[in-house]
């Protein structure tokens, strides 16, 4: 079934990369874009999203902050943190928030694997 | 002759003769070369390793920085160095005697069999590290003898003011372990106000040590207590970097002694001043007693004598009063004294009785001369008033100073002296007082010829007129220290 994915990254190119992979692997899914945490939260206020892909390295608030905010309002939504900086501390915090971690630069396989897992999780939760 | 065969053989021989470890991996991280040096250092043979994945042969390396560096070399052509300083033990290498072999690794891309690959070069730095340690210890031992036993704090910073090193005395004086202080700013040890005395940046680079005198400043211990320190600075170079070393001597004790001394002197000043005050009081008391005595005497001439005595005592009291007023006790501003004396005598006699004109240049008189000269002035002026023949008496008092000494002149327009008057032979008390005191001063009494009236002049020469150097500080302290 068709899902809506929210992409949050201050780099336009990074968003393009994700969109490009999505169009190859999940062409029927809808995409929402935000260039920062504030914009992302605004969007989520207005519209529903099923899955969130959040860049870690953003000005003002990092991806983990945004993930925590989203998680607070939605305990089930699959969230992935995207970053090249796969340090233990960040991985651990992501795990605490029940968020996945996908390393940058993004490969099709890695992102596709996460999206499959996310779709499965949503189905099981009856969404 | 097949030259390519010889070349391969020769290269192989070179690799095995090198005093460096060489490992060559192909694009899949399989071992292609593992030279003799590596065999000796690891105990693993090339024959056993050839063709195997390095990470499988040495599993402890599977998740190491080495693996990342090899990957970077093969995939992206990046060269890396892995140094002993940042990695305790990269490869499991041993020296022949069993000690660990300390090493650096250099990884370079190298095409192998037409595809990507890399070369790992292993450098034995055990000797260098050990030698450096030995050299450092030897050098340090020389200085340690001086530096560790020094009582003074010795501290080194770089040009930015970041602490690099401090000796045991410094640890003790400032109450910091050197490990805690190193890396922090020198301001940790100096008071905020005096931090600027430690040179930084440009000042540190251009320090002129000949011109630099030790400077006293306030430092601070760990708990903030201030320390009085004397700082001597030097700068030096090492490997293109400039460092600043300072010796900080605790002068708290010296300062304390100096402060105590200054306090003692100040106390003495107050004391001497008080003494003048009390002497004046005592003399006034005596004078007062005489006045009382006077009141109970009927005899007019006896009364007059007592009055004279009382006035003379008052004149001396006035000297001490002036000394007390001026906070001095080695010299007296005689001009000011004369002014007061004249105005007091004029007032006492009444304005109709005398008309006193005073001309006095500034004159500081040694305290031993002040009282005698004061009494002389008192006598001469009182005399002039007493022996006037007009109302008011016209009296001129002048005090002149010159390079030769000074002269006090009292002249009046009275009846004048009898023609055969000889001051030295005079029997009057007043005259005897004046001649005796003049002699005591080492001066000369002259009677100057005038048209009408009398002029007395007392001259004191410079060799008799011993005025100490004009200062506002108390007399020298003779305790062996450098006198002020």
């Amino acid at each position: 079934m068709t899902r809506t994915v929210l992409i949050v990254d201050d780099s336009k190119l990074a968003r393009m990369v994700v969109k490009s992979i999505l169009s190859k692997t999940r062409a029927d899914w809808r995409v929402m874009e935000a260039s920062g945490p504030a914009e992302a939260l605004d969007l989520l206020d207005g519209e529903m999203a099923d899955i969130a892909l959040v860049d870690f390295n953003m000005p003002e608030h990092d991806g983990l902050w945004l993930a925590a905010e989203i998680r607070a309002g939605n305990p089930v939504m699959p969230i992935a943190i995207l970053s090249a900086n796969a340090q233990d501390a960040i991985l651990a915090k992501a795990r605490e928030l029940d968020a996945a971690f996908v390393e940058k630069p993004l490969s099709e396989e890695a992102l596709a694997a996460f999206l499959s897992g996310a779709a499965l999780k949503l189905k099981r939760a009856g969404k | 002759m097949d030259s390519s065969f010889d070349l391969a053989r020769t290269c192989g021989a070179i690799l095995d003769a090198l005093d460096t470890g060489i490992v060559i991996l192909d694009g899949e991280c399989r071992v292609a070369i593992w030279n003799t040096w590596m065999e000796r250092a690891t105990g693993l043979m090339q024959v056993d390793l050839a063709g195997r994945f390095l990470w499988e042969a040495l599993p402890e390396l599977a998740d190491s920085r080495l693996r990342g560096a090899v990957g970077d070399a093969i995939q992206a052509g990046a060269s890396s160095i892995l140094t002993h300083s940042l990695h305790a033990q990269l490869l499991p290498l041993r020296l022949p005697d069993g000690r660990p072999l300390l090493h650096n690794l250099i990884i370079r891309p190298l095409p192998v069999g037409g595809a990507g690959g890399c070369m790992i070069q292993v450098n034995d730095i055990t000797v260098t590290v050990t030698r450096e340690r030995v050299l450092r210890e030897r050098r340090d031992a020389k200085y340690r003898a001086v530096v560790d036993t020094a009582q003074d704090a010795i501290v080194t910073t770089d040009t930015a003011g970041t602490l690099q090193w401090m000796n045991t005395a410094a640890e003790r004086i400032f109450d910091f372990h050197s490990q805690e202080a190193i890396g922090k700013d020198i301001g940790l040890l100096l008071s905020a106000g005096d931090c600027a005395h430690w040179p930084r940046d440009h000042d540190a680079l251009t320090m002129n040590e000949e011109a630099m005198q030790p400077v006293e400043l306030v430092g601070q211990r760990r708990d903030g207590t201030p320390l009085n320190l004397e700082l001597s600075l030097a700068s030096w170079r090492s490997e293109n970097r400039v460092f600043v070393t300072g010796i900080l001597r605790d002068v708290t004790e010296r300062r304390r002694v100096r402060d105590a001394l200054e306090q003692a002197v100040a106390d003495k000043t107050v004391l001497l001043s008080e003494i003048n005050h009390r002497v004046k009081n005592s003399l006034q008391l005596v004078s007062g007693l005489l006045n009382l005595q006077m009141a109970s005497i009927e005899d007019g001439s006896a009364k007059a004598l007592l009055k004279d005595a009382s006035d003379r005592i008052a004149a001396v009291a006035r000297v001490h009063y002036r000394l007390y007023q001026s906070d001095r006790f080695s010299t007296l501003d005689f001009a000011a004294f004369l002014e007061e004396l004249c105005s007091d005598l004029a007032e006492a006699s009444g304005t109709t009785v005398c008309d006193l004109v005073l001309e006095a240049g500034a004159l500081e008189i040694n305290i031993d001369h002040a009282a005698p000269l004061g009494l002389i002035a008192n006598e001469l002026i009182t005399n002039a008033i007493k022996h006037r023949d007009t109302d008011p008496a016209i009296i001129r008092v002048s005090l002149e100073t010159g390079p030769g000494g000074y002269a006090l002149t009292v002249s009046d327009k009275g009846p004048g002296l009898p023609p055969d008057f000889n001051a030295a032979k005079s029997r009057t008390l007043g005259m005897r007082i004046v001649t005796a005191l003049t002699r005591q001063l080492g001066g000369k009494l002259d009677i100057l010829p005038t048209g009408k009236g009398t002029t007395f002049r007392v001259t004191v020469g410079d060799n008799q007129h011993d005025v100490p150097r004009q200062t506002d500080v108390p007399p020298r302290i003779t305790s062996g220290e450098n006198a002020a």
Partner: protein, 218 residues
């Protein structure tokens, strides 16, 4: 982090489109993050590297720009790279922070005298990790192979560090990245400078354009 590149050469012409600038920044960020990951494994503690600013300017202006920000002596680790784009990569720190950086990375149990002895070597390796992080990611993402030299350590003013011993054409371009290093609760500022000649900049431009196009078309 996308603070934008001021990408105008002296003629006022835009060197890169906005999207291309974005792409370059993203590539650099990924490279720098990867370097942070590597450093954090060495340090066994968190390391954060972020790139708040990116600028392109001529070498002359770069010397001026750097002198204005850092008026004390500098330490730099440099590596040459060669391939379809060539140049020099520099990791630059004010000298006073370099010892601090090394101390924060070195094993705390080492005696201080040894740390000072090892400072030069350790700096070279730290520089190597950071610069390789950037360059390797750039090479991989742009599908290029570069040949990179070993690091060397230099000290001096911004003039010495950026212009070096030989007076090459000071008109060469410099890609200047201001980086913030946060290691073991210490925050250290430094810079990464990529010095390239115009042909190399053009080559990178082409590579980036192709990279971007790869995503635009899908």
């Amino acid at each position: 982090m996308n603070d934008g590149i001021d990408a105008e050469d002296e003629g006022g012409e835009r060197l890169l489109t906005e999207l291309e600038r974005d792409a370059l920044t993203e590539v650099i960020n990924i490279g720098v993050s990867r370097a942070a990951k590597n450093l954090s494994r060495m340090v066994k503690d968190q390391v954060h590297l972020s790139v708040p600013r990116t600028e392109i300017m001529t070498r002359d202006r770069a010397v001026e720009w750097l002198s204005r920000r850092e008026n004390s002596s500098l330490v730099a680790v440099g590596q040459d790279f060669q391939g379809s784009f060539s140049g020099q990569a520099l990791l630059i720190f004010p000298e006073k922070t370099s010892l601090e950086l090394v101390r924060s990375i070195l094993d705390d149990t080492l005696p201080l005298e040894e740390i000072v002895d090892l400072e030069q070597e350790a700096l070279a390796e730290i520089g190597n990790v950071v610069l390789n992080g950037c360059l390797v990611v750039m090479a991989n993402m742009l599908k290029e192979s570069l040949n990179m030299s070993l690091p060397r350590v230099m000290r001096g003013s911004s003039q010495v560090v950026l212009l070096g011993a030989d007076e090459e054409d000071p008109g060469e371009m410099v890609l200047f990245l201001t980086i913030d290093f946060a290691v073991r609760a210490r925050s250290i500022n430094g810079y990464i400078a990529l010095l390239m000649d115009l042909p190399s900049i053009t080559a990178i431009k082409t590579l980036i354009r192709e990279y971007v196009r790869g995503f635009e078309e899908s």
